[in-house]
């Protein structure tokens, strides 16, 4: 089975999940986990081929006229991601089944369906070789993330956090899209392979700086880098299985993924790497400070995730083989231990109903296996031997020391890693082993479904740490080579000898130990500086959002006061002003030169409509006004008829009739009191607006009339409509055949617009009735 099918399998899983949940109930998690497992297996089979340095390619034409192909490419780096996505996806599915065990089946189905949808989007993003296709999947991951964060839609905090993440990551996605379009304009291709091959031309172009900035903003928003870091901790409103999957192991690494991919493109642009080092370092320091201050179990983990992402961004900014290996190694190590820790946090919160670390303690009595998994995972996070986290940290320091950067990033990395040690200690020891008096009973114990995930991931952390050989040869080596652009011989080993890196590691662990011991004191001290933290957090976001909402409220109050008369006046005046401006800017009297004869029949009908229009302005009563407008409408229909547009005439008649039927219903109910008609001043003003509009329309139509009309299209359609589409009514043939996709778009708009208006009508006419 070819690897690109994995996206379709995941999509099929999303469709199947709901009905499956209603059939299978509590065993849904186990059964549905087969979907990601199959994907994992199919990607796993490609390891041998990919490790030989071969990239697998699959292509399907999609929109060839725009250069958009469904092109997929599996190299070492995307293979690592695909394995993480499907592997952790399998564990998340099993875990979620157990996590939602006491919820209704529909709830499990909805959750797993979203998880599968997300998985499809993730796989699509990392496997796409076409930038446009990648962007589509990229935004789909943001949407899935929005839906999962807002999964408990009845809670206000969930909705707000969901919206925040959507605004930040979705908005960042649009910025990335702009970058992709500029790349396309510069190089004439959206194929990533070609962009990489012609990167020298891209870097030499005047747009290089713009592209780099746009791509970086897209990546920083997704990977929660400073100053867009605030959404990730808030995203913890999502159910914990989603946090483990999206907001630690996979989605937030997409920004890193993108930057790593573009690192090769911008290799000759030193500013790109430097910016990454600076932003990455800033992000990790800010996040480390926040982690020390956070109270919630998940919040602490989320802040440490931001810090880890900062480390990754910084590593990508560094150059050289070691940096590539360090990046890949850290991605792998972090995914293993952080997902495991989230699983453990979820089990602890699920068992007690308490999310704050201050209220948790002594859980090892109730959740013994979870406690063990948490300790193992956090040892890897702390970077202690023999865990994989240790090796990846050694590489991190080696990459830093081998680059000719100044000492600041190294200092930052040491401090941040020390905080990671502190976090690791605090999230594993405190809730599970300290203060047993805090928790005296639990609502749920641990079940097998809740244990498979954390145990396997924690075990993986040790296994790769003790026997790094196979992982280095088959996973890390190929991935680092793909990043670096040249084959790298990876010697991923536990023991490097007595090196400066080891000294730094010892320093990190020592400071970390102090942090663990002094946690409460540091925590309480930092909590006193609320104002500073407010600005480090999402206060900017709230200011900006409130500003936008305030402006919207103001413009709504001015422009949309609820009076239809006023709306129509504003629209008409705007059109008149616009046309008058256009006419005055380019004065021409050409339209007076129009030639032609006056047809008596048309003139008579026109005269009738003019009388109708004049009457509309003058009459007082609504019924008379409606009748007068009707004269104008039906008169127009006759004009269409006389000018060879029977389709238009028919439509016009139907619409006019519909208005009459609708208005009759209203008129039957409206009291015929005087204040429903217009005052004479209002009628004068309406008359003037109408006259102005008429003059402008006349000028516009007359000047269109004298411009020569290009008849090539009309001729083409006229000649071919029967031969190619078997229809003699050209209008209809254009609608359903030549430009059918436009029509499909239009009826989709009609459908959505009417459904929206339908909902509004319900709201305004019937008072809200609450069910249940």
């Amino acid at each position: 089975m070819s690897f690109e099918w994995s996206i379709l399998i995941a999509l099929a899983g999303a469709v199947v999940a709901r009905p499956a949940a209603s059939l299978l109930g509590r065993s849904t998690g186990w059964v549905m986990s087969l979907v990601p497992l199959v994907i994992f297996a199919s990607v796993f089979m490609q390891i041998g081929q990919v490790a030989e340095g071969e990239a697998l390619v699959a292509q399907l034409s999609w929109v060839p006229s725009l250069g958009v192909d469904l092109a997929f490419r599996l190299d070492g780096f995307s293979l690592l991601f695909a394995l993480l996505i499907s592997g952790i996806g399998t564990l998340v599915t099993i875990y979620a089944g157990a996590y939602f065990a006491d919820k209704p089946n529909a709830e499990i189905g909805r959750f797993l369906s979203l998880i599968m949808l997300f998985m499809a989007a993730m796989l699509g993003t990392v496997l796409s070789d076409n930038l446009i296709v990648m962007f589509v999947f990229w935004e789909l991951t943001s949407l899935a993330s929005f839906l999962l964060i807002g999964f408990d839609g009845h809670k206000e905090a969930s909705r707000k956090s969901a919206l925040q993440s959507l605004i930040v990551t979705g908005g960042g996605g649009l910025v990335l899209f702009a970058g992709i379009l500029v790349i396309g304009m510069t190089l004439g291709t959206f194929s990533f392979t070609e962009v990489l091959a012609r990167s020298d031309k891209l870097v030499a172009s005047p747009w290089a700086g713009t592209i780099a900035v746009l791509v970086m903003i897209g990546a920083f928003t997704k990977s929660a880098q400073f100053p867009f870091h605030f959404w990730l901790p808030n995203a913890m409103a999502a159910p914990t299985p989603a946090s483990a999957y999206l907001h630690s192991a996979t989605m937030v690494k997409l920004g890193v993924f993108l930057l790593a991919r573009f690192d090769g493109v911008f290799a000759d642009m030193p500013a790109f790497g430097h910016t990454l080092v600076i932003i990455g370092s800033l992000s990790m320091v800010v996040a480390a400070l926040q982690a020390l201050r956070a109270e919630g179990f998940k919040a602490v983990l989320a802040q440490s995730t931001v810090a880890s992402l900062g480390i990754l961004v910084m590593l990508i900014g560094l150059t050289g083989e070691v940096a590539a290996v360090a990046t890949v190694g850290f991605i792998l190590a972090h995914a293993l231990y952080k997902a495991a820790l989230f699983f453990c946090a979820g089990t602890a919160i699920h068992a007690t109903g308490e999310a704050s670390l201050r209220k948790l303690g002594g859980l090892a009595r109730f959740l013994p296996v979870t406690a063990v998994a948490a300790v193992l995972a956090s040892l890897s996070m702390a970077g202690l031997p023999p865990f994989v986290g240790f090796i990846s940290k050694e590489y991190l320091f080696e990459a830093q020391l081998s680059n000719d950067w100044n000492i600041l990033p190294v200092v930052a990395a040491v401090l941040v890693n020390a905080v990671m040690v502190g976090v690791a200690g605090v999230v594993s020891i405190r809730p599970f082993y300290f203060k047993p008096e805090r928790v005296t009973e639990v609502r749920h114990g641990e079940t097998i479904g809740l244990l498979v995930g954390p145990l396997l991931l924690a075990a993986g952390g040790i296994l790769i740490g003790i026997m790094p050989g196979p992982a280095a040869q088959w996973l890390i080596g190929p991935a680092a080579s793909a990043l670096h652009g040249r084959p790298i011989d990876v010697s991923f080993q536990l023991w490097h000898g007595l090196t400066p890196m080891l000294v730094l590691s010892i320093l990190v662990v020592s400071i970390g130990a102090v942090i663990v011991v002094q946690w409460t004191r540091i925590h309480n001290t930092l909590r006193q500086y609320d104002t500073i933290y407010g600005w480090l957090g999402d206060r900017f976001y709230h200011k900006a959002l409130n500003g936008v909402l305030g402006t919207a409220r103001l413009s709504t109050q001015t422009l949309q006061n609820g009076d239809q008369h006023r709306y129509t006046s504003i629209v008409m005046l705007t059109v008149v002003a616009g046309l008058a401006f256009a006419f005055l800017a380019a004065p021409s009297t050409d339209f007076l030169a129009g030639e032609g004869s006056i047809r008596i029949s048309v003139a008579l009908v026109l005269l009738l409509t003019v009388i109708g229009a004049a009457a509309t302005i003058m009459v007082r009563s609504l019924i008379a006004g409606l009748v007068s407008v009707g004269i104008v409408g039906f008169g127009s229909a006759v004009i269409f008829m006389l000018n060879g547009a029977p389709d238009l005439a028919l439509t016009q008649i139907a619409v006019e009739t519909l208005i009459v039927i609708l208005m009759t219903a209203v008129l039957l109910k409206l009291p015929s009191r005087r204040r429903h008609s217009r005052s004479s001043a209002e009628r004068r003003r309406d008359g003037m607006i109408a006259a102005g509009f008429a003059v402008m329309m006349f000028v516009a139509l007359a000047s269109i009339g004298v411009t020569p009309i290009d008849l090539r299209l009309s001729d083409y359609f006229g000649q071919t409509s029967y031969l190619e589409a078997y229809g003699r009514n050209v209008v209809n043939v254009i609608l359903v055949d030549y430009r059918a996709i436009d029509t499909l778009g239009e009826i989709a708009v009609v459908a959505l617009a009417t459904i929206a208006a339908w909902g509004l009508l319900r709201g305004s006419l019937k008072p809200a009735r609450t069910k249940e």
Partner: protein
């Protein structure tokens, strides 16, 4: 509502419905088509709702208007798939000749448009009338 109007409206309802289907199918060669046909059909139901009641009109329609919208959109979408399979081009229509009449996926597409227009107009008209009736 007067007896005359009420009785005549039944007759008109049937006539307009027949006319709308006629409009729909002759559309490919002569003035008409899914959009105009849909408007006429919607008019027929709106007339029934005005003369009798929204309830009666909803009963006559049998399907909920919003379902009609979705079904129409889906049908229009489906009609594009055969072309995608055979020519690799979405909405390139298939044709069959039955006697002297050409029938193809374009007809299905137009029926989709027809349904969306009926559903769209009526979902609003019915709600509007219900609001007025209160």
């Amino acid at each position: 509502m007067s007896v005359i109007f009420s009785t005549m409206s039944r007759l008109f309802f049937v006539l307009m419905l027949v006319a709308s289907v006629y409009m729909l199918f002759r559309g490919h060669n002569e003035p008409g088509g899914g959009f105009i046909g849909g408007l006429f059909a919607a008019l027929a139901f709106a007339l029934l709702a005005l003369a009798d009641s929204v309830k009666a009109a909803r009963r006559a329609l049998m399907i909920h208007p919003s379902v009609l919208i979705g079904a129409g959109l889906f049908l229009a979408f489906l009609s594009g798939l055969p072309g995608l399979l055979s020519d690799g081009s979405f909405l390139t229509h298939w044709w069959a000749e039955i006697g002297s009449v050409h029938v193809g996926t374009a007809t299905a597409f137009d029926i989709g448009v027809f349904m969306v227009v009926i559903g769209g107009v009526l979902s609003l008209v019915f709600r509007f009338y219900e609001g007025v009736e209160q």
